[in-house]
């Protein structure tokens, strides 16, 4: 996206994505070119702001959900320790009661 000079005069071109390819699209020179350039710049700024907003939102969400992983770890370790002390042992992923108390 930008200005290009043809025969000594600036003309505005816009980049258009088509699948994986990007092609240049002629817009025009003079007032029309300047207006299109301003609109494109506004759109770009808006996209950047939205992306920043959602990046922040995502970070906030991830941070507020961290405690669930911590809670899972704590409950898993504590349950395991309590069950072992209560006379159970884990065999092939299944908890079983020990036949004799150790």
């Amino acid at each position: 996206m930008g200005w290009e000079e043809r025969r000594g005069r600036p003309y505005y071109y816009r980049s258009v994505r088509e699948g994986k390819r990007v092609r240049k699209e002629y817009v025009g020179g003079g007032a029309l070119g300047r207006l299109a350039a301003q609109l494109d710049e506004l759109e770009r700024q808006q996209r950047e702001e939205e992306t920043a907003y959602w990046r922040e939102n995502r970070k906030h969400f991830e941070q507020s959900a961290v405690f669930i992983g911590e809670l899972e770890e704590a409950t898993q370790i504590l349950s395991q320790a309590i069950l072992i002390t209560a006379g159970f042992h884990k065999r092939r992923g299944e908890w079983r009661r020990l036949r004799e108390s150790a």
């Binding site: 939205e50 992306t51 907003y53 959602w54 939102n57 995502r58 906030h60 969400f61 941070q63 507020s64 959900a65 961290v66 405690f67 669930i68 911590e70 809670l71 899972e72 770890e73 704590a74 409950t75 898993q76 370790i77 504590l78 349950s79 395991q80 320790a81 309590i82 069950l83 072992i84 002390t85 209560a86 159970f88 042992h89 884990k90 908890w95 009661r97 150790a102």
Partner: protein, 187 residues
Amino acid sequence: MKALELSKNMKKRLAQLQALSDRVQDGDKAARRELRRAVRESSPEVVAEASELARKGQWALIKTAAAGEPLAEEALIARLDLMRAEVAGENPSALESLLTEKIVAVWILSEVLELLLTAQLAGGNDVQHVPHSFLKFYLGWQEQAHRRFSSAIRELAKVRRLQSGVPRSQTNVQINVSPYANSELRP
């Protein structure tokens, strides 16, 4: 925003419990005595700190779900209290209380994700729309939250069954949880 995490001291205690449990599982009889002592000494603190963390985390999620609406906040708090009482039942053990907090936490996480996604899919001008990559991110989280919810319920049921000492075939484990029933905030 600071991430909600367990303290370093608590992580150290949990690591000790894990190491001792592993040693007992490997047949170390001396470790069993040590583990018993460690559980006796550590469990009240682990339960207290993890429960405190759970409450803080739930509160953060409630704030997100309610989006600044005091009435919605109150409704969610009441809903969580009710759910907590239903899941924990009468006279829950410390471990049952902790597992209950986990179930409640994952439920509120599911609810937040459900609200975020419903708002996105329903459209409307007052909602800032998420780019596709973020929508995919939230959908992934939602799927994970559903899995975690089922797994948390199974874990509580397993602990109750094992602690009751009744063989599996004779045990009816009932946990009164309906993740989406009667939710005041449900759109």
